[in-house]
């Protein structure tokens, strides 16, 4: 349970970062804003509370590793890394521009703080498992966190990695599913049914926690539980809302990816400032 001040700090930070994501989406011509907002509290909880990292030393050997397997959420990830000082956030005005280090999907060799280049779905869980096994092999204490999308779970490779993580009892790996219930072409349950998603991961050898993915207390409790787990890797199914925080984007698959004109930007910012 967070104390009230800490909770407030995280909520204020999340709101401030949402505004920055809107600004980048406006200047860059278009971004995966819907998914960036559904994953947002998970990333904020990790980066501003849970992860053992040092923005001054992005290649610090003993840092925790983070993999945004849903690489299209890169706009949200980049805004956080800039805010933390991994790079000058002013660089974000180049997002999506020709020759920019920042594209929709972040490149680890171009963006300080990014541990793995992602974008192609279905890679992150296996990459994370490799990082976790590597840490265990070399006696390192760092932890690996992966954030996947729910639509991504239609990829067969997710289940190859899920099976292997259960098999190898990779307890130094914690994964989240950003369960916003939409993929690009529509609702996951009518497009390609995922449920019962918790039972599936359990059957693959994971301990599954289901939480509200916008509630900092629940996210951080889940992380604490995962870190204490000694038998199984932990999968956190985080129920989220696509486009969360902007009233006209919420639960709208049309906002999976979109651009903003000045009026829409202002309306989005107003909606974020209004939220608690």
């Amino acid at each position: 349970m967070l104390d009230a001040g800490e909770r407030k700090r995280l909520k204020t930070k999340a709101r401030e970062l949402r505004e920055k994501i809107i600004e980048v989406t406006f200047t860059c011509g278009g971004a995966h804003v819907g998914g960036a907002f559904s994953q947002h509290e998970i990333l904020v909880a990790l980066y501003y509370k849970a992860l053992k990292i040092d923005p001054k030393r992005p290649a610090w050997e003993d840092r925790d590793r983070f993999i945004l397997s849903k690489g299209h959420g890169g706009v949200g990830h980049a805004v956080i890394l800039g805010d933390l000082g991994f790079f000058d956030p002013a660089l974000l005005k180049e997002f999506n521009k020709t020759g920019s280090p920042f594209g929709m999907h972040l490149d680890r060799l171009k963006v300080p703080g990014v541990d793995f280049s992602t974008g192609s779905l279905g890679h992150g869980l296996a990459l994370g498992l490799g990082a976790a096994l590597g840490a265990r092999q070399t006696g390192k204490s760092w932890h690996t966190y992966v954030v996947m999308s729910d639509g991504e779970c239609a990829e067969g490779s997710v289940w190859e990695a899920a099976m292997a993580a259960g098999n190898f009892k990779a307890t130094n790996l914690t994964a989240f599913v950003d369960r916003n219930r939409f993929s690009l072409d529509g609702p996951t349950e009518t497009l390609m049914r995922l449920e019962p998603l918790d039972k599936k991961f359990e059957a693959f050898g994971w301990r599954v926690l289901t939480i509200d993915g916008h509630d900092f207390d629940q996210i951080l409790d889940a992380i604490e539980t995962a870190r204490a787990e000694t038998e199984r890797p932990v999968m956190v199914i985080a129920n989220t809302v696509k486009g969360k925080g902007v009233d006209f984007m919420e639960d709208k698959t049309a906002w999976h990816y979109g651009g903003l004109d000045e009026a829409t930007r202002d309306a989005a910012l107003a909606s974020i400032r209004k939220s608690k």
């Binding site: 793995f116 490799g130 990082a131 840490a135 092999q137 490779s157 190859e160 099976m163």
Partner: protein, 337 residues
């Protein structure tokens, strides 16, 4: 079907089971000295001989089950801990089933992972097309940052595996099933990634071969010499980065080139060499031996090599054709290229 002439071995002859076993042994020796080396396979520890590593160093061996894409991504992740993962599976699965993982997780991210792809070409003869792999050189050399090596025999495989551990970035080593006869007599020869080995010098024609076809090229060259034809043989064990100097030198010196590979003629060694020739601006009689845009039939490996013209008989026939081929020579042929 006609039996290949001049060959004394078949894949039923276990006496020649060397290539895969020697790489397994080499890797184990390296692993015993270098704790950064970890070995992975996808349920093919015994078939690929990486199981030798498991016998000696079980704590650094991972069998991920039949999941090649997963294996590649796990290996990529392991490099975060400073490890050097060596993965081994059949070439067909390493290069095609897991292709996007090799490209996106290893090459794009510059991950220090080595792939030892066994059963390449048609070396798994009777297993048929699903287990043949005549496309991997083309696929792998198209990935930016990938190094592609096809050793001629067990000794060269041992040298290539050892060299790859010290070579930065992803490396794809393509070997056969392990039944191939030796090309070298020992481990004592110069081996450098990216540098062709001139096994035999000649004036009239150059054969540029890779992998198991190098030995066949040497036999063909020997037989041609008995008819007074002087043939140079280049063992082009590294297809990428290609030893372009060796190709240009062959072009300048012999003006006639044949490439041989246990691979499709589309996108492989032949095309890599053709690219160098085309850029040189020099005329040249040229022929690519390999699979001519077809799926290979089922059969004994040596029969398949014979049928598709990549054994000594086929190469000898090609020498006859290329020696007679006409080509336009420019006036300043001797100029540097």
């Amino acid at each position: 079907m006609a039996k290949a002439q001049g060959l004394t071995w078949t894949i039923d002859d276990a006496d020649h089971m060397t290539q895969a076993e020697i790489y397994g042994e080499t890797l184990t020796q390296i692993g015993l000295k270098d704790k950064r080396v970890v070995a992975l396979t996808a349920d093919l520890a015994r078939s690929t001989k990486i199981g030798k590593f498991e016998e000696k160093i079980p704590e650094r061996f991972y069998n991920v089950g039949i999941a090649e894409a997963n294996m590649i991504a796990i290996a990529a992740g392991m490099t975060e801990a400073g490890l050097i993962p060596v993965v081994s599976t059949f070439a067909a699965f390493a290069s095609m089933r897991a292709a996007e993982f090799v490209r996106t997780d290893l090459c794009y991210q510059k991950r220090n992972v080595k792939i030892i792809a066994t059963h390449s070409g048609t070396s798994f003869g009777q297993a048929g097309t699903t287990h043949h792999c005549t496309e991997d050189i083309a696929i792998m050399r198209s990935f930016a940052g990938m190094t592609v090596i096809a050793p001629a025999d067990a000794y060269e495989t041992a040298r290539a595996v050892a060299a790859s551990i010290e070579y930065p970035g992803p490396v794809y080593i393509r070997i056969g099933r392990g039944f191939e006869p030796p090309m070298h007599k020992s481990l004592d020869f110069d081996f450098e990634i990216g540098k062709a080995i001139k096994l035999r010098d000649g004036r009239d024609l150059t054969i540029i071969a890779t992998g198991v076809t190098v030995l066949q090229a040497m036999e063909a060259a020997e037989r041609a010499s008995q008819n007074g034809v002087s043939v140079r043989v280049l063992d082009m064990h590294t297809i990428k980065p290609l030893d372009e100097d060796a190709v240009r030198e062959a072009l300048l010196d012999t003006r006639r080139i044949i490439t041989v590979e246990d691979h499709t003629v589309i996108g492989g060694l032949g095309d890599a060499v053709a690219d160098v020739i085309a850029r040189s601006g020099k005329g040249c009689a040229f022929k690519k031996l390999g699979y001519q845009d077809c799926f290979s039939m089922v059969g004994y490996y040596e029969d398949l090599q014979h049928n598709y013209g990549i054994d000594a008989d086929g190469i000898l026939d090609a020498i006859g054709v290329v020696l007679k081929a006409e080509f336009e020579q420019d006036e300043d042929w001797e100029d540097e290229i």
